[in-house]
Protein backbone atom coordinates (compact mmCIF):
# COMPACT_ATOMS: atom_id res chain seq x y z
CA UNK A 1 0.00 0.00 0.00
CA UNK A 2 1.18 3.55 0.40
CA UNK A 3 4.08 4.61 2.55
CA UNK A 4 3.77 8.33 2.13
CA UNK A 5 3.33 10.82 4.94
CA UNK A 6 -0.23 11.79 5.71
CA UNK A 7 -1.52 13.94 8.57
CA UNK A 8 -3.73 11.19 9.97
CA UNK A 9 -0.94 8.63 10.21
CA UNK A 10 -0.66 6.92 13.60
CA UNK A 11 2.85 5.69 12.88
CA UNK A 12 5.14 6.85 10.17
CA UNK A 13 8.50 5.16 9.79
CA UNK A 14 11.02 6.41 7.25
CA UNK A 15 14.32 4.73 6.39
CA UNK A 16 14.63 3.17 9.83
CA UNK A 17 18.03 1.64 10.59
CA UNK A 18 18.97 -0.28 13.67
CA UNK A 19 22.22 -1.98 14.61
CA UNK A 20 23.17 -4.30 17.45
CA UNK A 21 26.90 -3.73 17.49
CA UNK A 22 27.91 -4.60 13.95
CA UNK A 23 24.74 -6.61 13.27
CA UNK A 24 22.39 -4.72 10.97
CA UNK A 25 19.03 -5.61 12.54
CA UNK A 26 16.75 -3.29 10.57
CA UNK A 27 17.57 -2.05 7.06
CA UNK A 28 15.84 1.05 5.72
CA UNK A 29 12.38 0.18 6.95
CA UNK A 30 9.50 2.27 5.60
CA UNK A 31 6.06 1.78 7.05
CA UNK A 32 3.01 3.96 7.46
CA UNK A 33 0.05 2.97 9.63
CA UNK A 34 -3.11 5.04 9.45
CA UNK A 35 -5.35 5.72 12.42
CA UNK A 36 -7.81 2.88 12.80
CA UNK A 37 -5.73 0.57 10.66
CA UNK A 38 -4.80 -2.97 11.80
CA UNK A 39 -1.44 -4.19 10.60
CA UNK A 40 -0.11 -7.69 11.17
CA UNK A 41 3.65 -8.13 10.97
CA UNK A 42 4.99 -11.62 10.37
CA UNK A 43 8.22 -13.24 9.35
CA UNK A 44 10.74 -15.83 10.49
CA UNK A 45 12.40 -15.41 13.87
CA UNK A 46 15.30 -13.00 13.80
CA UNK A 47 13.73 -11.06 10.94
CA UNK A 48 13.54 -7.86 13.01
CA UNK A 49 9.77 -7.65 13.45
CA UNK A 50 9.90 -7.38 17.25
CA UNK A 51 12.76 -4.92 17.05
CA UNK A 52 10.73 -2.78 14.69
CA UNK A 53 7.66 -2.49 16.89
CA UNK A 54 9.84 -1.99 19.95
CA UNK A 55 11.33 1.03 18.20
CA UNK A 56 7.85 2.58 17.98
CA UNK A 57 7.71 3.20 21.74
CA UNK A 58 11.46 3.49 22.17
CA UNK A 59 12.10 0.26 23.98
CA UNK A 60 14.81 0.10 21.34
CA UNK A 61 16.63 3.18 20.18
CA UNK A 62 16.90 3.54 16.40
CA UNK A 63 20.17 4.47 14.76
CA UNK A 64 18.96 6.07 11.57
CA UNK A 65 15.83 7.35 9.88
CA UNK A 66 12.74 9.00 11.35
CA UNK A 67 9.87 7.62 13.41
CA UNK A 68 6.81 9.79 13.89
CA UNK A 69 4.14 8.48 16.26
CA UNK A 70 0.78 10.24 16.52
CA UNK A 71 2.32 13.37 15.06
CA UNK A 72 5.28 13.50 17.46
CA UNK A 73 8.76 12.67 16.29
CA UNK A 74 10.67 10.14 18.40
CA UNK A 75 14.06 11.58 19.26
CA UNK A 76 16.19 12.06 22.35
CA UNK A 77 13.64 14.48 23.80
CA UNK A 78 12.46 12.68 26.96
CA UNK A 79 9.24 14.67 26.94
CA UNK A 80 8.42 13.34 23.47
CA UNK A 81 9.24 9.77 24.50
CA UNK A 82 7.06 9.96 27.62
CA UNK A 83 4.26 11.59 25.66
CA UNK A 84 4.32 8.82 23.04
CA UNK A 85 4.50 6.02 25.60
CA UNK A 86 1.42 7.43 27.35
CA UNK A 87 -0.57 7.10 24.12
CA UNK A 88 0.84 3.79 22.91
CA UNK A 89 -0.11 0.60 24.72
CA UNK A 90 2.02 -2.51 24.47
CA UNK A 91 1.39 -6.21 25.09
CA UNK A 92 4.39 -8.48 25.45
CA UNK A 93 5.04 -12.11 24.66
CA UNK A 94 5.73 -12.91 28.31
CA UNK A 95 2.95 -10.70 29.70
CA UNK A 96 5.32 -8.82 32.05
CA UNK A 97 2.64 -8.26 34.65
CA UNK A 98 3.92 -6.86 37.94
CA UNK A 99 3.98 -9.93 40.19
CA UNK A 100 3.98 -7.98 43.47
CA UNK A 101 0.67 -6.25 42.73
CA UNK A 102 -2.84 -7.59 42.43
CA UNK A 103 -4.48 -7.72 39.00
CA UNK A 104 -6.46 -4.60 39.87
CA UNK A 105 -3.35 -2.72 41.02
CA UNK A 106 -1.55 -3.74 37.84
CA UNK A 107 -4.29 -1.99 35.92
CA UNK A 108 -4.47 1.06 38.19
CA UNK A 109 -0.85 1.99 38.71
CA UNK A 110 -0.09 3.67 35.40
CA UNK A 111 -3.31 5.73 35.16
CA UNK A 112 -2.74 6.92 38.74
CA UNK A 113 0.97 7.66 38.47
CA UNK A 114 1.28 8.73 34.86
CA UNK A 115 -2.11 10.27 34.13
CA UNK A 116 -2.65 11.41 37.75
CA UNK A 117 -6.15 9.96 37.85
CA UNK A 118 -7.78 9.78 41.29
CA UNK A 119 -7.84 6.28 42.81
CA UNK A 120 -11.61 5.82 42.55
CA UNK A 121 -11.65 6.75 38.89
CA UNK A 122 -8.66 4.53 38.10
CA UNK A 123 -10.34 1.64 39.88
CA UNK A 124 -13.59 2.12 38.00
CA UNK A 125 -11.70 2.20 34.68
CA UNK A 126 -9.67 -0.86 35.60
CA UNK A 127 -12.75 -2.86 36.59
CA UNK A 128 -14.40 -1.80 33.35
CA UNK A 129 -11.55 -3.12 31.22
CA UNK A 130 -11.21 -6.30 33.26
CA UNK A 131 -14.89 -6.87 32.49
CA UNK A 132 -14.16 -6.27 28.84
CA UNK A 133 -11.42 -8.92 28.76
CA UNK A 134 -13.82 -11.20 30.65
CA UNK A 135 -12.01 -11.68 33.95
CA UNK A 136 -13.64 -9.20 36.37
CA UNK A 137 -13.75 -11.89 39.08
CA UNK A 138 -9.92 -12.17 39.16
CA UNK A 139 -9.35 -8.54 40.14
CA UNK A 140 -8.02 -9.22 43.62
CA UNK A 141 -5.77 -12.13 42.66
CA UNK A 142 -2.08 -11.90 41.94
CA UNK A 143 -0.72 -12.58 38.43
CA UNK A 144 1.03 -15.75 39.60
CA UNK A 145 -2.34 -17.26 40.46
CA UNK A 146 -3.73 -16.91 36.92
CA UNK A 147 -3.30 -19.05 33.81
CA UNK A 148 -1.23 -17.77 30.91
CA UNK A 149 -4.27 -16.79 28.88
CA UNK A 150 -5.76 -14.93 31.81
CA UNK A 151 -2.47 -13.16 32.46
CA UNK A 152 -2.25 -12.02 28.87
CA UNK A 153 -5.81 -10.69 29.01
CA UNK A 154 -4.91 -8.77 32.17
CA UNK A 155 -1.91 -7.38 30.31
CA UNK A 156 -4.20 -6.19 27.53
CA UNK A 157 -6.55 -4.61 30.09
CA UNK A 158 -3.59 -2.95 31.80
CA UNK A 159 -2.51 -1.36 28.53
CA UNK A 160 -6.07 -0.29 27.70
CA UNK A 161 -6.50 1.41 31.09
CA UNK A 162 -4.15 4.14 29.85
CA UNK A 163 -6.69 4.71 27.07
CA UNK A 164 -4.06 4.54 24.35
CA UNK A 165 -4.63 5.60 20.74
CA UNK A 166 -2.45 2.82 19.39
CA UNK A 167 -1.79 -0.72 20.58
CA UNK A 168 1.37 -2.73 19.88
CA UNK A 169 1.26 -6.52 20.27
CA UNK A 170 4.61 -8.30 20.37
CA UNK A 171 3.83 -11.99 19.76
CA UNK A 172 1.02 -11.98 22.32
CA UNK A 173 0.12 -15.66 21.92
CA UNK A 174 3.55 -17.23 21.38
CA UNK A 175 4.08 -18.13 25.04
CA UNK A 176 0.60 -19.57 25.53
CA UNK A 177 -0.61 -23.14 25.64
CA UNK A 178 -2.68 -23.87 22.51
CA UNK A 179 -6.01 -24.00 24.35
CA UNK A 180 -5.50 -20.47 25.67
CA UNK A 181 -4.66 -18.78 22.41
CA UNK A 182 -8.28 -18.41 21.36
CA UNK A 183 -9.36 -16.47 24.47
CA UNK A 184 -6.62 -13.91 23.87
CA UNK A 185 -7.28 -13.63 20.15
CA UNK A 186 -11.01 -13.14 20.86
CA UNK A 187 -10.21 -10.12 22.99
CA UNK A 188 -7.95 -8.75 20.25
CA UNK A 189 -10.62 -9.27 17.61
CA UNK A 190 -13.15 -7.37 19.75
CA UNK A 191 -10.66 -4.59 20.19
CA UNK A 192 -10.04 -4.44 16.45
CA UNK A 193 -13.75 -4.31 15.70
CA UNK A 194 -14.04 -1.26 17.93
CA UNK A 195 -11.66 0.65 15.73
CA UNK A 196 -8.42 0.52 17.75
CA UNK A 197 -5.27 1.15 15.73
CA UNK A 198 -3.20 -2.02 16.11
CA UNK A 199 0.19 -3.29 15.06
CA UNK A 200 0.53 -7.00 15.83
CA UNK A 201 3.60 -9.14 15.49
CA UNK A 202 2.11 -12.62 15.34
CA UNK A 203 2.18 -15.95 13.57
CA UNK A 204 -1.58 -16.38 13.91
CA UNK A 205 -2.47 -16.28 10.25
CA UNK A 206 -6.14 -16.91 10.95
CA UNK A 207 -6.19 -13.76 13.02
CA UNK A 208 -4.39 -11.87 10.23
CA UNK A 209 -6.96 -13.02 7.71
CA UNK A 210 -9.83 -12.03 9.94
CA UNK A 211 -8.86 -8.57 11.18
CA UNK A 212 -5.81 -7.23 9.35
CA UNK A 213 -6.13 -4.44 6.85
CA UNK A 214 -2.60 -5.18 5.79
CA UNK A 215 -0.04 -7.90 6.33
CA UNK A 216 3.64 -6.99 6.41
CA UNK A 217 6.21 -9.71 5.83
CA UNK A 218 9.74 -9.13 7.11
CA UNK A 219 12.91 -11.09 6.58
CA UNK A 220 16.54 -10.27 7.25
CA UNK A 221 15.71 -6.87 8.74
CA UNK A 222 13.77 -5.73 5.68
CA UNK A 223 10.14 -5.44 4.72
CA UNK A 224 9.89 -7.93 1.89
CA UNK A 225 6.26 -7.56 1.08
CA UNK A 226 3.12 -5.82 2.31
CA UNK A 227 -0.39 -6.45 1.05
CA UNK A 228 -4.01 -6.81 2.17
CA UNK A 229 -4.55 -10.31 3.58
CA UNK A 230 -6.62 -11.60 0.66
CA UNK A 231 -3.85 -10.71 -1.74
CA UNK A 232 -1.04 -11.66 0.64
CA UNK A 233 -2.19 -15.21 1.24
CA UNK A 234 -3.17 -16.00 -2.35
CA UNK A 235 -0.79 -14.22 -4.64
CA UNK A 236 2.35 -13.14 -2.85
CA UNK A 237 5.10 -12.05 -5.11
CA UNK A 238 8.31 -13.03 -3.36
CA UNK A 239 9.76 -16.48 -3.06
CA UNK A 240 10.73 -15.89 0.59
CA UNK A 241 7.15 -15.04 1.49
CA UNK A 242 5.85 -18.13 -0.26
CA UNK A 243 8.32 -20.30 1.58
CA UNK A 244 7.42 -18.76 4.94
CA UNK A 245 3.71 -19.15 4.32
CA UNK A 246 4.08 -22.78 3.33
CA UNK A 247 5.89 -23.39 6.63
CA UNK A 248 3.34 -21.56 8.77
CA UNK A 249 0.23 -22.74 7.00
CA UNK A 250 1.58 -26.12 5.95
CA UNK A 251 0.20 -28.20 8.80
Amino acid sequence: MNSTQSPGAAVHIEDLDKYYGSFHALRKINLCVQRGEKVVVCGPSGSGKSTMIRCINRLEQHDGGRITVLGTELNDDVGNIDGIRREVGMVFQHFNLFPHMSVLENCMIAPMMVRKRPRAEAEATARGYLEKVRIPEQAMKFPGQLSGGQQQRVAIARALCMQPQLMLFDEPTSALDPEMIAEVLDVMVTLASEGMTMICVTHEMGFARRVADRVVFMDGGEIVEEAPPAEFFTSCRSERTRQFLSQVLGH
Partner: protein, 359 residues
Protein backbone atom coordinates in the same frame (compact mmCIF):
# COMPACT_ATOMS: atom_id res chain seq x y z
CA UNK B 1 -15.64 -60.71 46.26
CA UNK B 2 -15.10 -57.70 48.42
CA UNK B 3 -11.80 -55.88 48.09
CA UNK B 4 -10.31 -54.67 51.33
CA UNK B 5 -7.70 -52.04 50.96
CA UNK B 6 -5.39 -51.93 53.91
CA UNK B 7 -3.27 -48.82 54.39
CA UNK B 8 0.26 -49.55 55.62
CA UNK B 9 0.16 -49.00 59.38
CA UNK B 10 1.63 -45.68 60.41
CA UNK B 11 4.11 -46.25 63.20
CA UNK B 12 3.13 -44.91 66.62
CA UNK B 13 5.32 -42.47 68.53
CA UNK B 14 7.10 -45.15 70.53
CA UNK B 15 7.57 -47.42 67.55
CA UNK B 16 9.01 -44.50 65.56
CA UNK B 17 11.43 -43.72 68.40
CA UNK B 18 12.51 -47.35 68.58
CA UNK B 19 13.17 -47.54 64.86
CA UNK B 20 15.17 -44.33 64.78
CA UNK B 21 17.33 -44.76 67.87
CA UNK B 22 17.18 -48.34 69.17
CA UNK B 23 17.10 -50.50 66.06
CA UNK B 24 20.35 -52.42 66.73
CA UNK B 25 22.32 -53.04 69.94
CA UNK B 26 25.09 -50.69 68.79
CA UNK B 27 22.57 -47.98 67.98
CA UNK B 28 20.97 -48.46 71.37
CA UNK B 29 24.34 -48.08 73.08
CA UNK B 30 25.21 -44.89 71.17
CA UNK B 31 21.79 -43.43 71.82
CA UNK B 32 22.06 -44.11 75.55
CA UNK B 33 25.54 -42.57 75.76
CA UNK B 34 24.42 -39.45 73.89
CA UNK B 35 21.38 -39.17 76.11
CA UNK B 36 23.51 -39.43 79.24
CA UNK B 37 25.86 -36.69 78.01
CA UNK B 38 22.93 -34.41 77.19
CA UNK B 39 21.29 -34.94 80.57
CA UNK B 40 24.58 -34.28 82.31
CA UNK B 41 25.23 -31.02 80.41
CA UNK B 42 21.70 -29.71 80.87
CA UNK B 43 21.74 -30.55 84.55
CA UNK B 44 25.12 -28.84 85.05
CA UNK B 45 23.90 -25.77 83.24
CA UNK B 46 20.63 -25.54 85.11
CA UNK B 47 22.38 -26.15 88.39
CA UNK B 48 24.84 -23.37 87.68
CA UNK B 49 22.35 -20.89 86.27
CA UNK B 50 19.42 -21.46 88.65
CA UNK B 51 19.58 -24.00 91.48
CA UNK B 52 22.92 -23.01 93.01
CA UNK B 53 22.88 -19.42 91.81
CA UNK B 54 22.76 -16.31 93.96
CA UNK B 55 20.20 -13.73 92.91
CA UNK B 56 20.15 -11.12 95.67
CA UNK B 57 22.64 -8.40 96.37
CA UNK B 58 22.11 -8.62 100.14
CA UNK B 59 25.16 -10.81 100.77
CA UNK B 60 27.42 -8.76 98.51
CA UNK B 61 30.19 -10.26 96.38
CA UNK B 62 31.38 -12.43 99.26
CA UNK B 63 28.17 -14.48 99.42
CA UNK B 64 28.46 -14.96 95.68
CA UNK B 65 32.01 -16.22 95.71
CA UNK B 66 31.07 -18.75 98.36
CA UNK B 67 28.22 -20.14 96.27
CA UNK B 68 28.77 -22.93 93.74
CA UNK B 69 26.49 -21.51 91.05
CA UNK B 70 26.17 -18.35 89.04
CA UNK B 71 26.40 -14.99 90.67
CA UNK B 72 23.49 -13.06 89.21
CA UNK B 73 23.84 -10.46 91.95
CA UNK B 74 26.45 -8.78 89.77
CA UNK B 75 23.69 -7.97 87.30
CA UNK B 76 21.41 -6.72 90.06
CA UNK B 77 24.21 -4.52 91.35
CA UNK B 78 25.63 -3.31 88.04
CA UNK B 79 22.84 -3.41 85.44
CA UNK B 80 22.78 0.34 85.23
CA UNK B 81 26.37 0.49 84.01
CA UNK B 82 25.71 -2.25 81.47
CA UNK B 83 22.62 -0.56 80.08
CA UNK B 84 23.60 3.10 80.37
CA UNK B 85 27.41 3.20 80.49
CA UNK B 86 28.88 6.42 81.80
CA UNK B 87 25.61 8.33 81.52
CA UNK B 88 25.11 10.42 84.71
CA UNK B 89 23.38 8.34 87.38
CA UNK B 90 20.51 10.75 88.15
CA UNK B 91 19.72 11.17 84.47
CA UNK B 92 19.68 7.49 83.52
CA UNK B 93 15.88 7.41 83.32
CA UNK B 94 16.31 9.57 80.22
CA UNK B 95 18.59 7.01 78.64
CA UNK B 96 16.05 4.29 79.44
CA UNK B 97 13.25 6.31 77.85
CA UNK B 98 15.48 6.97 74.82
CA UNK B 99 16.05 3.22 74.44
CA UNK B 100 12.31 2.65 74.58
CA UNK B 101 11.78 5.40 72.01
CA UNK B 102 14.21 3.74 69.58
CA UNK B 103 12.72 0.30 70.10
CA UNK B 104 9.16 1.59 69.69
CA UNK B 105 10.16 3.50 66.56
CA UNK B 106 11.82 0.41 65.08
CA UNK B 107 8.88 -1.83 65.93
CA UNK B 108 6.38 0.67 64.50
CA UNK B 109 8.31 1.04 61.27
CA UNK B 110 8.27 -2.75 60.93
CA UNK B 111 4.46 -2.84 60.87
CA UNK B 112 3.08 -2.82 57.30
CA UNK B 113 0.38 -0.28 58.26
CA UNK B 114 3.14 2.33 58.68
CA UNK B 115 4.69 1.81 55.25
CA UNK B 116 3.59 5.04 53.64
CA UNK B 117 6.01 7.88 53.10
CA UNK B 118 4.31 10.25 55.51
CA UNK B 119 3.79 7.76 58.33
CA UNK B 120 7.30 6.35 58.21
CA UNK B 121 8.74 9.89 58.14
CA UNK B 122 6.56 10.80 61.12
CA UNK B 123 7.63 7.71 63.07
CA UNK B 124 11.32 8.21 62.36
CA UNK B 125 11.23 11.96 62.85
CA UNK B 126 9.49 11.65 66.22
CA UNK B 127 11.65 8.72 67.33
CA UNK B 128 14.95 10.33 66.37
CA UNK B 129 13.89 13.70 67.83
CA UNK B 130 12.78 12.13 71.11
CA UNK B 131 16.00 10.14 71.37
CA UNK B 132 18.18 13.16 70.73
CA UNK B 133 16.35 15.50 73.11
CA UNK B 134 16.24 12.88 75.87
CA UNK B 135 19.89 11.87 75.54
CA UNK B 136 21.44 15.24 74.89
CA UNK B 137 19.17 17.45 77.02
CA UNK B 138 19.96 21.14 77.33
CA UNK B 139 16.29 21.99 76.70
CA UNK B 140 13.02 21.64 78.65
CA UNK B 141 14.97 21.79 81.91
CA UNK B 142 16.91 18.61 81.12
CA UNK B 143 20.60 19.01 82.03
CA UNK B 144 22.98 18.78 79.08
CA UNK B 145 24.81 15.46 78.60
CA UNK B 146 27.49 15.37 75.91
CA UNK B 147 27.80 12.50 73.42
CA UNK B 148 31.05 11.36 75.05
CA UNK B 149 29.03 10.30 78.11
CA UNK B 150 26.48 8.24 76.17
CA UNK B 151 26.91 4.54 76.56
CA UNK B 152 25.58 1.04 77.12
CA UNK B 153 22.55 -0.33 75.38
CA UNK B 154 21.30 3.16 74.51
CA UNK B 155 24.47 3.83 72.51
CA UNK B 156 24.46 0.41 70.82
CA UNK B 157 20.87 0.90 69.67
CA UNK B 158 21.54 4.45 68.53
CA UNK B 159 24.59 3.48 66.47
CA UNK B 160 22.80 0.51 64.95
CA UNK B 161 19.60 2.34 64.04
CA UNK B 162 21.33 5.43 62.63
CA UNK B 163 23.80 3.27 60.70
CA UNK B 164 20.87 1.51 59.04
CA UNK B 165 18.83 4.68 58.53
CA UNK B 166 21.73 6.41 56.76
CA UNK B 167 23.29 3.32 55.23
CA UNK B 168 20.19 1.82 53.66
CA UNK B 169 19.17 4.74 51.42
CA UNK B 170 22.85 5.25 50.61
CA UNK B 171 23.08 1.59 49.59
CA UNK B 172 20.10 1.96 47.25
CA UNK B 173 21.67 5.08 45.70
CA UNK B 174 24.96 3.25 45.18
CA UNK B 175 23.20 0.23 43.68
CA UNK B 176 21.27 2.47 41.27
CA UNK B 177 24.38 4.42 40.31
CA UNK B 178 26.22 1.18 39.70
CA UNK B 179 23.68 0.13 37.08
CA UNK B 180 23.81 3.51 35.36
CA UNK B 181 24.08 3.55 31.56
CA UNK B 182 26.98 5.96 31.75
CA UNK B 183 30.13 3.89 32.15
CA UNK B 184 32.06 6.53 34.07
CA UNK B 185 29.33 6.67 36.72
CA UNK B 186 28.91 2.91 37.08
CA UNK B 187 32.68 2.32 37.10
CA UNK B 188 33.35 5.02 39.71
CA UNK B 189 30.57 3.70 41.92
CA UNK B 190 31.90 0.17 41.56
CA UNK B 191 35.32 1.40 42.54
CA UNK B 192 33.97 3.14 45.65
CA UNK B 193 31.97 0.08 46.71
CA UNK B 194 34.87 -2.30 46.19
CA UNK B 195 37.24 0.14 47.85
CA UNK B 196 35.16 0.39 51.01
CA UNK B 197 34.55 -3.35 51.06
CA UNK B 198 38.23 -4.14 50.92
CA UNK B 199 38.98 -2.11 54.06
CA UNK B 200 38.46 -3.51 57.55
CA UNK B 201 35.65 -1.79 59.48
CA UNK B 202 38.05 -0.99 62.31
CA UNK B 203 40.32 1.02 60.04
CA UNK B 204 37.34 2.94 58.67
CA UNK B 205 36.06 3.75 62.16
CA UNK B 206 39.53 4.81 63.22
CA UNK B 207 39.96 7.02 60.16
CA UNK B 208 36.64 8.74 60.67
CA UNK B 209 37.18 9.22 64.39
CA UNK B 210 40.80 10.27 64.50
CA UNK B 211 42.15 11.18 61.08
CA UNK B 212 39.21 12.99 59.52
CA UNK B 213 39.27 16.02 61.88
CA UNK B 214 42.69 16.95 60.46
CA UNK B 215 41.47 16.68 56.89
CA UNK B 216 38.12 18.48 57.13
CA UNK B 217 37.38 22.16 57.67
CA UNK B 218 36.33 22.91 61.25
CA UNK B 219 32.62 23.39 60.52
CA UNK B 220 32.34 19.97 58.91
CA UNK B 221 33.99 17.96 61.66
CA UNK B 222 31.04 17.53 64.05
CA UNK B 223 31.11 15.31 67.09
CA UNK B 224 33.20 12.16 66.99
CA UNK B 225 30.08 10.01 67.50
CA UNK B 226 28.47 11.25 64.29
CA UNK B 227 31.65 10.79 62.29
CA UNK B 228 31.91 7.22 63.54
CA UNK B 229 28.25 6.58 62.70
CA UNK B 230 28.81 7.97 59.22
CA UNK B 231 31.84 5.71 58.76
CA UNK B 232 29.91 2.68 59.85
CA UNK B 233 26.96 3.66 57.61
CA UNK B 234 29.36 3.93 54.66
CA UNK B 235 30.69 0.46 55.39
CA UNK B 236 27.16 -0.92 55.75
CA UNK B 237 26.04 0.71 52.50
CA UNK B 238 28.90 -0.77 50.47
CA UNK B 239 27.86 -4.30 51.41
CA UNK B 240 24.15 -3.60 51.24
CA UNK B 241 24.55 -1.97 47.80
CA UNK B 242 25.86 -5.24 46.42
CA UNK B 243 22.97 -7.10 48.04
CA UNK B 244 20.45 -4.69 46.48
CA UNK B 245 22.21 -4.96 43.12
CA UNK B 246 21.96 -8.73 43.29
CA UNK B 247 18.26 -8.37 44.02
CA UNK B 248 17.83 -6.07 41.03
CA UNK B 249 19.53 -8.54 38.73
CA UNK B 250 16.89 -11.06 39.71
CA UNK B 251 14.09 -8.87 38.35
CA UNK B 252 13.34 -9.80 34.72
CA UNK B 253 14.13 -7.13 32.16
CA UNK B 254 10.54 -7.24 30.92
CA UNK B 255 9.35 -5.69 34.17
CA UNK B 256 11.07 -2.41 33.50
CA UNK B 257 10.09 -2.53 29.83
CA UNK B 258 6.43 -2.97 30.77
CA UNK B 259 6.65 0.01 33.11
CA UNK B 260 8.37 2.06 30.40
CA UNK B 261 5.73 1.11 27.86
CA UNK B 262 3.09 2.37 30.28
CA UNK B 263 4.83 5.75 30.34
CA UNK B 264 6.11 5.54 33.90
CA UNK B 265 9.03 7.85 34.70
CA UNK B 266 12.44 6.64 35.88
CA UNK B 267 11.68 7.22 39.55
CA UNK B 268 8.23 5.66 39.28
CA UNK B 269 9.78 2.59 37.66
CA UNK B 270 12.47 2.36 40.30
CA UNK B 271 10.19 3.05 43.26
CA UNK B 272 7.15 1.01 42.32
CA UNK B 273 8.37 -1.76 40.04
CA UNK B 274 12.08 -2.45 40.35
CA UNK B 275 12.89 -1.86 44.03
CA UNK B 276 9.90 -3.68 45.56
CA UNK B 277 10.78 -6.80 43.61
CA UNK B 278 14.52 -6.39 44.11
CA UNK B 279 14.07 -6.02 47.86
CA UNK B 280 11.98 -9.15 47.95
CA UNK B 281 14.80 -11.06 46.25
CA UNK B 282 17.37 -9.47 48.51
CA UNK B 283 15.50 -9.90 51.78
CA UNK B 284 17.33 -12.91 53.28
CA UNK B 285 20.74 -11.38 52.57
CA UNK B 286 19.54 -8.01 53.86
CA UNK B 287 18.42 -9.42 57.20
CA UNK B 288 21.81 -11.12 57.41
CA UNK B 289 23.53 -7.78 56.85
CA UNK B 290 21.41 -6.12 59.56
CA UNK B 291 22.33 -8.85 62.02
CA UNK B 292 26.02 -8.49 61.23
CA UNK B 293 25.81 -4.71 61.61
CA UNK B 294 24.10 -5.01 64.97
CA UNK B 295 26.91 -7.13 66.30
CA UNK B 296 29.61 -4.99 64.69
CA UNK B 297 28.51 -1.97 66.73
CA UNK B 298 30.73 -3.41 69.46
CA UNK B 299 33.79 -2.33 67.43
CA UNK B 300 33.25 1.35 68.30
CA UNK B 301 34.99 0.64 71.59
CA UNK B 302 38.33 1.07 69.80
CA UNK B 303 37.61 4.76 69.25
CA UNK B 304 36.53 5.25 72.84
CA UNK B 305 32.79 4.64 72.98
CA UNK B 306 31.29 2.52 75.72
CA UNK B 307 28.60 0.57 73.94
CA UNK B 308 27.00 -2.36 75.69
CA UNK B 309 29.93 -4.80 75.51
CA UNK B 310 32.49 -2.27 76.70
CA UNK B 311 30.11 -1.15 79.44
CA UNK B 312 29.87 -4.78 80.48
CA UNK B 313 33.65 -4.91 80.81
CA UNK B 314 33.45 -1.86 83.01
CA UNK B 315 30.70 -3.44 85.10
CA UNK B 316 32.86 -6.31 86.34
CA UNK B 317 36.24 -4.76 85.69
CA UNK B 318 36.47 -2.65 88.83
CA UNK B 319 36.98 -4.02 92.28
CA UNK B 320 34.72 -6.44 94.03
CA UNK B 321 32.88 -8.08 91.07
CA UNK B 322 36.02 -8.97 89.16
CA UNK B 323 35.32 -12.73 89.41
CA UNK B 324 31.80 -12.53 87.91
CA UNK B 325 32.64 -11.89 84.26
CA UNK B 326 30.91 -15.01 82.95
CA UNK B 327 27.59 -13.86 84.33
CA UNK B 328 28.01 -10.37 82.86
CA UNK B 329 28.81 -11.77 79.44
CA UNK B 330 25.89 -14.21 79.67
CA UNK B 331 23.59 -11.29 80.43
CA UNK B 332 24.93 -9.25 77.50
CA UNK B 333 24.66 -12.27 75.24
CA UNK B 334 21.00 -12.55 76.23
CA UNK B 335 20.42 -8.91 75.25
CA UNK B 336 22.12 -9.42 71.88
CA UNK B 337 20.11 -12.59 71.42
CA UNK B 338 16.79 -10.85 72.08
CA UNK B 339 17.47 -8.17 69.47
CA UNK B 340 19.08 -10.33 66.81
CA UNK B 341 16.57 -13.14 67.21
CA UNK B 342 13.60 -10.77 66.87
CA UNK B 343 15.30 -9.31 63.79
CA UNK B 344 15.55 -12.70 62.11
CA UNK B 345 12.00 -13.68 63.11
CA UNK B 346 10.83 -10.41 61.58
CA UNK B 347 12.76 -11.32 58.43
CA UNK B 348 10.93 -14.64 58.29
CA UNK B 349 7.60 -12.82 58.70
CA UNK B 350 8.48 -10.49 55.83
CA UNK B 351 9.44 -13.39 53.59
CA UNK B 352 6.10 -15.04 54.22
CA UNK B 353 4.24 -11.82 53.64
CA UNK B 354 6.12 -10.96 50.46
CA UNK B 355 5.65 -14.35 48.86
CA UNK B 356 1.87 -13.73 48.75
CA UNK B 357 2.03 -12.95 45.04
CA UNK B 358 3.97 -16.07 44.06
CA UNK B 359 2.64 -19.62 44.27
Amino acid sequence: MEMVIVAPPTPGRLEDLRRRFFATPLQTLLSLISLAIMVFVVWKLLNWAIFSAVFTTSGGPEACQAAAGACWSVIAARWRIILFGLYPFEEQWRSALACIAVVVMTVLSCIPAFWTGRRIALVWGTGAGLYYVLMKGGVLGLPHVGEEAWGGLALTLFIFVTTCLIGFPLAICLALLRRSDLPWISRTTGLIIDGVRSLPLISILFTFAVVLPFALPQWMVGDKLYRVIFGSALFFSAYQAEIVRGGMQGVPKGQEEAAMALGMSYWQRIGRILLPQAMRNALPATINQFVISFKETSLVVIVGFFEILASGNAAYGTGEWRFAYVEVYAFIAMIYFVFVFSLSRYGAFLERRMSVGER
